[in-house]
Amino acid sequence: MSEDAIVCERLTKRYGKHRGIEDIDLRVHPGEAFGFLGPNGAGKSTTIRALMGFLRPTSGRAEVFGFDCWRQSVEVAKHVGNLPGDFTYDEQLTGWEVVRHVARLRRHDDLAFARELAERLEADMDRPLRHLSRGNHQKVGLVQAMFHQPRLLLLDEPTGGLDPLMRETFLDLVAEARADGATVFLSSHNLEEVHRVCERVGIIRDARLIATEDIGDLIRRALRHVRITAAAPIDPAPFAALEGAQDVHGDGTTLTLRLAGEVDALVKLAAQHEIVDLEIGRASLEEVFLSFYGRTENHVA
């Protein structure tokens, strides 16, 4: 049996016109937080559904804690708390009824942690799901995924619909689960969120895992939007000469550019001027793909 929390070996799922996933090779170690990044439709949910045994692989295999995800899905489910994307359940039921139902299926009687989760997430657990906002649906989903303190949390776009404050609470809860030894597999298209939680990320695009990276490396090498406002007119030429600088535009005292790579040289160069304002914005995930993986596109296709 494998020691890893998740193992995918050439995992492929094709169905009908949908592309699914192709040849996914992946290992997530116990206790690790792994981010699964990619645009919508890239294959994130398909991978998670294969891990849960919802989908039979066309070829290849997937294991969770050494159990085959398709043939031993009941064993897998014992160890996993799964939050499906856009969580929903019988809309007549209240949040507590959902949690009690799940608890019964799991034969897990202790709802103490469920109460703590509901309180911290400020989840509205007493009204039927049909009356709840998307964010409140998601909170019920998080409670039902986490209350039994599973060894592995599979979270598919978990913060959709959550307000920023609750997003922070959620990220704290995930950090606490990890401190207790849980493994986290977080699918997202939000780089910032993944950065907060995960050490490693897998990047999936067009059904293929195109890279697994240390999140620190990814962020360091990712594209940034830079806007510098100086007290006096600023010469763009030295900035254009910086490694990784693109689209450098100087307009008197204002200079904008995009930077792929380290910011250290940029900051030191900027420091030679009297700076009025400096903005460094993180690129969107799409831009990360374009700047960082665009060059691999030919190999991927």
């Binding site: 849960m52 919802f54 009941v74 809309e91 299926l105 995924a145």
Partner: protein
């Protein structure tokens, strides 16, 4: 017409419990728990059997009470036999809906296919009984085993065939559902 009306209940129940749960994605939550897949068709079969039993017993009691209230001579035992006779026939179509539910994911399609089979069976049987030159038509549907229990009592052999058929369909639905891709 009563077999038609009652027969739709387990079809709708099966369509909702499996294809409906897949379509509205509550199946994702159920199958994320350590529940073997075979539990779903079997539990659905058990649930609509109990529901049908309650329904036909209630139907028998209300009909009998109404008859008595209006001074009609109706034996409660005959009425119960007539109502219970609806059960095995309805179970066949409910179990057929389980198989369809294990293949398709639209509850309306399940209701259409299994409900269509029910209506077709009823009509084929009716035509076969009315038109002598096509009387073979009355022998080719499950309605062949649905006698007139209210007059003749329950026929154990007919009931047995229908129940065996229903159980067989339910058993067939288990591996079919176990292999199903549960799509988002």
């Amino acid at each position: 017409m009563v077999p038609l009306a009652v027969g739709f209940y387990p079809i709708l129940a099966a369509a909702r419990a499996i294809a409906g749960a897949e379509q509205n994605r509550s199946l994702d939550v159920i199958l994320s728990q350590p529940v073997p897949r075979w539990h779903l068709p079997v539990a659905t079969f058990a649930a609509f059997t109990i529901g049908l039993l309650e329904m036909v017993l209630l139907f028998a009691l209300i009909t009998w009470a109404s008859a008595v209230a209006f001074g009609v001579d109706l034996d409660l035992g005959d009425m119960l036999a007539g109502s219970l006779n609806l059960l095995p026939l309805s179970l066949i179509y409910g179990a057929l809906a389980l198989i369809v539910s294990a293949v398709v994911r639209q509850p309306s399609l399940v209701t259409g296919i299994a409900g269509g089979a029910l209506v077709l069976g009823y009509l084929t049987d009716a035509v076969g009984k009315i038109a002598a030159d096509v009387d073979w038509m009355a022998d080719i549907t499950p309605f062949r085993f649905y006698g007139s229990a209210i007059e003749n009592g329950l026929d154990a052999a007919d009931v047995g065939v229908l129940l065996a058929g229903a159980v067989l369909f339910c058993v067939i639905s288990i591996p079919v559902f176990a292999r199903k891709d549960i799509r988002a």
